[in-house]
């Protein structure tokens, strides 16, 4: 039951994109077409879950063990960057179909602040290993959900006649605001 609450909390209430504003750049950048949005969502679910596990282990056993917590920022970004590189090489070799599907979205994830943000949130909320793993996965699912929903709406908006100054990014942001507004309805569910 606790995990169900965690899932609702991470996916809907504290949605990493719409409530915590992490990962807005890929959110606006890759949401113009449904195809790219799905690719990005898959890549994020994959990398964020793995990054959550590894950074938790690094923080608990390496940084806290050696008492060098001030190196957290540097070590986390290195872990994420090398993880992305490693995942890319691994997928290219063993799962070329998935690699082709994710394409350019994998390297882009290094600078996706949602990944690093989720890892930092796990630490600041003092989650245990299992909770941190579950939370990273649920945060990633929330990111994917918001991205795919937004891409669906944005495809329709592109067909509409938008006033000239509001075109493109501007109307995208307003649309995102309305989606975020609908997500606030989940507040108080748990």
């Amino acid at each position: 039951m606790a995990y169900f609450e965690l899932a609702i909390g991470c996916i809907l209430i504290n949605n990493i994109l719409l409530a915590q504003f992490l990962g807005c750049c890929p959110f606006l950048g890759t949401s113009k077409k449904m195809e790219t949005a799905v690719g990005m969502a898959m890549a994020v679910v994959f990398v964020m879950s793995m990054a959550g596990i590894i950074t938790w282990v690094v923080d608990t056993y390496l940084l806290k063990g050696l008492d060098v917590e001030y190196l957290r920022t540097v070590s986390f970004i290195l872990v994420i960057a090398s993880l992305v590189q490693f995942v890319e090489m691994f997928l290219k070799k063993s799962m070329p179909a998935l690699y082709a599907g994710l394409g350019i979205f994998l390297p882009l994830i290094t600078t996706n602040c949602a990944v690093m943000g989720a890892c930092l949130l796990n630490i600041s909320n003092e989650y245990t290993f299992v909770t941190a793993t579950a939370a990273s996965f649920f945060y990633a699912l929330g990111f994917g959900l918001a991205l795919i929903l937004f891409a669906g709406v944005r495809e329709r908006v592109n067909l509409a006649r938008v006033p000239k100054p509001l075109q493109d990014t501007s109307i995208g942001l307003v649309t995102a605001g309305i989606i975020a507004l609908s997500f606030t309805a989940f507040k108080g569910m748990v």
């Binding site: 719409l18 504003f21 957290r72 540097v74 970004i77 000239k164 942001l173 995102a176 605001g177």
Partner: protein
């Protein structure tokens, strides 16, 4: 030289002002601009990181091998972010708590990495500092403006520094009702979108 230096500096203030003209680094823009104070603090922290990472990247531009350059830039940026984090923790603790995880997240702010890759790696250190300073100040300005709009509409106050508002609508009119939508998450998206639309109305040249 002096003329092009001024050009690199001023382009960040209008022609390429982030996040309006350069749509990069949106996360801190949306997340911390509940008050003007948060916007200024975040802008200054980012400016510090931008200037020094630009300087170091530019000084090392002939040393860093092209293949591992992104990793090198990230380590340089992360070092300066750690410095900012420790300094803010020591001297501006209330602000440090308010900005929370968005200070370590300057590392993955695409503006910083974007300027290192697009500008500092190709220009000399003095130009790189001018660029970093210009873009940084532009970023601070945008954050303050968005912060002012959101705080004024959403809470009826303007807080520049230190946590006490310098202006409060409640003292002007007791019947004032704040539009709290603006300080909530959706208001950030809508506010930025509408500001962007206003910017688009003004021609850039």
């Amino acid at each position: 030289m002096a003329q092009s230096l001024a050009k690199e500096f001023t382009k960040g203030l209008w022609a390429e002002i982030p996040p309006f003209r350069l749509v990069l680094g949106l996360c801190p823009v949306l997340a911390v601009t509940k008050t003007v104070e948060n916007g200024i603090g975040m802008g200054m922290a980012t400016t510090f990181v931008l200037v020094f990472s630009n300087l170091l990247v530019s000084m090392l531009r002939n040393v860093i091998p092209a293949k591992v350059r992104i990793a090198c830039y990230i380590v340089i940026i992360a070092t300066f972010v750690t410095i900012v984090e420790l300094v803010m923790q020591a001297f501006t603790y209330p602000l440090f708590l308010k900005l929370g995880i968005f200070i370590p997240l300057i590392v993955v702010n695409c503006i910083v990495l974007g300027r290192a890759e697009a500008f500092a790696s190709k220009n000399n250190p003095i130009m790189a500092i001018a660029d970093g300073l210009g873009i940084g100040i532009g970023f601070t300005l945008s954050l303050s403006v968005l912060g002012a709009v959101r705080e004024f509409l959403g809470a009826g106050t303007i807080t520049i520094w230190g946590g006490t508002p310098v202006f409060d609508m409640a003292t002007v009119s007791s019947s004032f009702q704040p539009f709290s939508f603006m300080v909530e998450a959706p208001g950030a998206f809508v506010g930025l979108g509408l500001l962007l639309a206003i910017m688009n109305l003004i021609p850039s040249k």
